[in-house]
């Protein structure tokens, strides 16, 4: 969920920007030159995957996949998400410039957190890993929803109800993201386990 321009208070915008700069700096440190094409190309693939319209009853939802991005990229997910969001702002005018920081935080912080939170579980093949993959997709969106709500509420009490509704709207997305992340994980494990090596790195 992108927050639009002009909604958040300057303090929240600044906070988001600072966190994004720090996160991006940490992420870029971990990107050596060999990893540049990998991070960029995965970022492009995620951008395109987010164009998939998944039906849920009468509505279509876009995939987010930030949990999976965390799984595959760890900290490097931060610059990757920043770039993807910047391109979305440029090409579709989703989100925007001043909210780029906040939007990056709401998407990337859950990605990195889930990477560390579920790494342990994912190292055990079979059911634990499957649960871990579902939980990763599910909780990344949950955290994103919470962070969006937090950004809105920090802007002003007036946004309390809006924040609640936003959170509510995230519930179906969470479930679908959980399921999809699980299937993608199973696919990768079968087809290209090398891609999941980041989970095993110390």
């Amino acid at each position: 969920m992108h927050i639009s321009e002009g909604v958040l208070s300057p303090a929240v915008l600044a906070g988001g920007a600072v966190l994004t700069v720090v996160g991006t700096a940490v992420g870029l440190k971990k990107v050596d030159y060999e990893a540049i094409p990998r991070v960029a190309i995965l970022s492009a693939a995620f951008f395109v995957a987010s164009l998939i319209h998944v039906p849920l009853g009468p509505v279509g939802l876009h995939l987010v996949l930030n949990g999976l991005m965390g799984l595959l990229l760890g900290w490097m997910a931060v610059p990757a998400i920043l770039i993807a969001l910047f391109l979305q702002a440029l090409l579709f005018q989703f989100g925007g410039l001043t909210v780029l920081g906040v939007n990056t935080v709401t998407m990337a912080a859950p990605a990195v957190l889930c990477f560390y939170a579920y790494r342990g579980l994912l190292r055990h093949p079979g059911t634990p890993a499957a649960i871990g993959a579902f939980a990763c997709g599910f909780s990344a969106v949950l955290l994103s929803g919470l962070l969006v709500a937090l950004a809105l509420i920090s802007t002003g009490q007036a946004f309390l109800e809006v924040a609640q509704l936003v959170l509510l709207a995230h519930i179906p997305i969470m479930i679908i993201e959980g399921i999809i992340t699980l299937f993608i994980y199973l696919f990768l494990q079968k087809v290209r386990p090398e891609m999941l090596e980041g989970i095993y790195a110390s």
């Binding site: 199973l186 696919f187 079968k190 087809v191 290209r192």
Partner: protein
């Protein structure tokens, strides 16, 4: 004419944003029981033609009749796709399931077959193409030739009445090409092959047809053992140059 499998009448099609149409008042027809080759230079619209037939692209003007019935709306094409199989130019575009058997059973499942029957059909189709033993192979890791054959299996598993093949031989080695030729020669259904390779066409079709901007110029079959020239000649006919 009403018994032709496919009829395209006065089709005009341009890609959105393109500065000139790929087809303008284009006519084409495929009589039943025919094995037809389709040739023409890069970008003359061969792939576009197949996609128009399958309803993956929609013409701006003109009518399409498939098995004698006019098709216009998405609903009509959904029915067409049950009876006409398309083999993509690139096998990688066609295969997206982790294992071969899942991929081959995907079509029958979408046709509403129960899982057990879908699996049975998938196995049976793979046997027919000499692919038994491939069930649990990872599709992504197959060699180029194997991918092509599995793609063909995914299409044949839907038991189509007509097969459209888009450059089925690109990147294939000689052995796989031979195998493909044998498989096609044994098929009982009509098919239409797009290819740049005349050798291959000589073995699989008896007639070739050259795609132009306005029509598909048929080249009549020649009696005798040497249909090579049919296809060869077509190539040297003046095409739309790029």
């Amino acid at each position: 004419m009403s018994d032709a499998l496919i009829v395209l009448e006065n089709i005009t099609f341009a890609y959105p944003g393109a500065f000139r149409p790929v087809f303008q008042d284009f006519n084409f027809q495929l009589p039943p029981g025919h094995h037809l080759g389709l040739i023409g230079p890069n970008g003359c619209g061969k792939t576009t033609l197949l996609h128009l037939i399958m309803g993956l692209l929609r013409p701006q003007a003109g009518s399409i009749f498939i098995f004698g019935k006019e098709v216009r709306k998405e609903k009509d094409f959904v029915a067409v796709r049950q009876k006409v199989g398309l083999l993509f130019q690139n096998a990688d575009d066609q295969l997206f399931c982790p294992t071969v058997i899942e991929d081959v059973a995907f079509g029958p499942l979408n046709q509403g077959k129960p899982p057990a029957e879908a699996l049975w059909i998938a196995r049976e189709t793979m046997d027919r193409l000499g692919l038994s033993g491939f069930e649990d192979r990872i599709t992504y890791k197959l060699s180029g030739g194997e991918k092509k054959l599995v793609s063909l299996a995914t299409v044949l598993a839907m038991q189509p009445q007509l097969l459209l093949l888009d450059e089925p031989t690109t990147g294939l080695d000689e052995n796989t090409k031979q195998r493909l030729i044998h498989i096609l020669q044994d098929l009982e259904i009509s098919y239409l092959i797009v290819s740049h390779e005349h050798d291959f066409l000589n073995h699989t079709v008896r007639e070739c047809c050259h795609v132009h901007g306005h029509c598909c110029q048929p080249l009549p079959p020649r009696p005798g053992k040497e249909p090579v020239s049919t296809c060869k000649k077509a190539v040297s006919a003046p095409g739309k140059e790029y």
